[in-house]
Symmetry: C2
């Protein structure tokens, strides 16, 4: 059984936005007002629910519920889109006795179409009736688009005053695919927290997890991570060590969710863990990791189980980071195949065959210049990715 | 017939570096010393021939010949690689009576292996005997790696004093693939030019052509473009209008070569012409064009003949350029499908079907903010690209 944070109830129903025979409208409600935090897409085109949730949190970082629909992104829908988004909050808030301004919203699905309000209205009625009758897993399934499995993680953290619980769910197989826009994450926690600290901590956790993964480098109009902390454990994260513990728990939870997103990457067969060390700075290490993790040639090589240091090194070389090429080394797993600017002699195809067959491959790149390091999770690139994305609409 | 610039002879032989039953070692010799210019890869890992040619031009911008081998890149080969590269110049220069420091060199092929000097020696002997017995097209074939067709373009330019001729060849299907490292371009011209102006003009031409195409965003250790102007037409490009004309001819020639590289992109079926206008500045327009042209989602959509404005718009949105989303418009061919931040209603799948079937598709993006514009040529992304690059070594 999942150890669900106290004071939350879930709902999930079939509204029929795009999918048949599965839930696509869902809700998590806190029994009491919760401190709410959010991190939103930096894309210049922001979907209506992103605009609305951002405004809501800017007004007051308190929320009672998160309302999510899958199938329609409500992005590039103009003022009308925002109006419809606000209307959906009222549809759900009024019968539940929750102020609409205390409902955060998120959408994922096709861009450009207006929400079908008749379906939303019917769905909202069913949703309100369903509150408490669905599980967190039901909601994790209801937020999926092209995901092949639901992504749900729970954790407990022992603080001085007792135990608190965290639960997170996300979707994003179509990561990072604007048309099924795209990565959504929702976290609920029963600790009592300081709202400002909660927002900062969520921001850090997202940077260390969801922002450190890449499938295809594309980011969407709808990406957001929302987090509620309702205090229903009656345990407060107040001391410095408590805060550190809860922050670490939140980061771990987000990292586990992010890993599952890469695991479920469209057409992906492997998770590539790109570790860069010895860079002049952390941002330089990140630059190198991203160039390598985005390189179609590196991604296809590792898909093909080819220990192709040449492609890795060439990507490092064009990253723009500052380093001496003669100090660069590359390892796959624990085996160094490129050392101080030169390939290491060896029959790597044979030696690394078992390592490259695994579904998680560690590529370690040492620049030998400084102490900056960064780790990025990336997917490989496969024919299946092309098929999914070339055939998506037709 | 090709109108070949005066005073150049070509040679091409089978040295057996990697390929069988085709030439892989080639040379172009100018009858007299020519003003020489070069533009080289910015990759931190530079192949030995790139280092050698760069040093040579820094010493004196005069050359008699360009020596090229395909199959071995002589990259990541350390000091020994540079020594061997220098030795190959002597092998060819001595019997031809050309100072080795007047020979520019380029290599393309597998990274990390040392040049096989026995094969090179046998090949060099044959090459020297072959000078004048091969055509420019033979050389254009001999520099190919995974290219499916040779890329050769000629042009004539009428200057005040008479006609001058340009001939350019390039390879780069495996563009931009570090392991078959990678894009090489060679241009010969029989105009008499000022050496400094020739170098600046080549740099501009490369920026406007080869640097304005992308296949997979990867650049290599060996990329270079070399250009000779030997004055054998006895026509000098001296007046401002002559210089402008010759520069324009060089840009056109390079653009045509660059187009053929994208046309021959690994696994590519289409050339995407990404036109960005209305940006705050040219660099901002370029940023947008590159983000769109590199987006795997955009590339797969156009491969799938899907007029997917959502993916284009989402890529524009994450580019980091400054603009008002409500002023952005997108057209495919002549048809606007997204206007001022909103999709235009229409059955675009039917209307655009014939346009999307073509092997060249124009995507026009207007940001409505300023006067900066940029045009990028990109390839689409296909299952075939994955197959070629996942199976390349095994």
């Amino acid at each position: 059984m999942f150890d669900v944070p106290k004071g939350y109830r879930f709902a999930a129903v079939e509204a029929g936005f795009k999918y048949r025979n599965r839930c696509d409208l869902s809700l998590v409600v806190s029994d009491c007002p919760a401190h709410a935090a959010g991190v939103f897409t930096t894309n210049a085109f922001q979907a209506a629910p992103v605009v609305v949730s951002q405004k809501t949190l800017a007004g007051s970082p308190v929320a009672r519920a998160i309302l999510v629909n899958a199938g329609q992104a409500n992005a590039c829908t103009g003022e009308e889109g925002e109006k419809r988004c606000l209307a959906t909050r009222t549809m759900v808030g009024t019968p539940l006795g929750i102020d609409p301004t205390e409902i955060l919203v998120a959408s994922t699905g096709v861009i450009g179409d207006q929400l079908p309000m008749d379906r939303f209205e019917r769905g909202a009625k069913a949703l309100v009736d369903n509150v408490g009758h669905s599980s967190a897993l039901d909601m994790a399934k209801a937020i999926m688009t092209t995901d092949t499995f639901p992504k749900l993680v729970t954790a407990t953290v022992s603080l001085e005053g007792g135990t608190v619980r965290l639960l997170g769910m996300c979707k994003g197989a179509g990561m990072i695919c604007p048309n099924m826009a795209t990565m959504l994450g929702f976290i609920v926690c029963d600790a009592r927290v300081d709202p400002l600290w909660w927002q900062q901590t969520l921001r850090t956790a997202v940077d260390e997890s969801f922002n450190a993964v890449t499938v295809d480098g594309d980011t969407s109009t709808n990406d957001c991570v929302l987090a509620l902390a309702n205090g229903q454990s009656h345990v407060e994260a107040v001391s410095r060590s408590d805060k550190r513990l809860l922050a670490a728990g939140l980061i771990d939870l987000c990292r586990e969710l992010a890993f599952r997103i890469v695991q479920d990457a469209e057409g992906g067969t492997k998770v590539l863990r790109i570790r860069v060390s010895g860079a002049k700075s952390k941002p330089q290490a990140e630059t190198v990791a991203r160039v390598v993790g985005h390189s179609p040639l590196v991604k296809t090589a590792l898909y093909g189980q080819d220990p192709n240091w040449g492609r890795i090194v060439a990507a490092v070389g064009r990253s723009g980071a500052t380093f001496d090429p003669n100090q660069v080394s590359v390892a796959i797993g624990d085996t160094t195949i490129f050392s101080k600017g030169r390939p290491v002699e060896g029959d790597w195809d044979s030696i690394l065959a078992p390592v490259l067959k695994r579904d998680e491959i560690v590529v370690s790149i040492s620049l030998g210049t400084g102490r900056g390091s960064y780790e990025l999770l990336a997917s490989d690139l496969t024919e299946e990715y092309i098929r999914i994305n070339a055939d998506y609409r037709t």
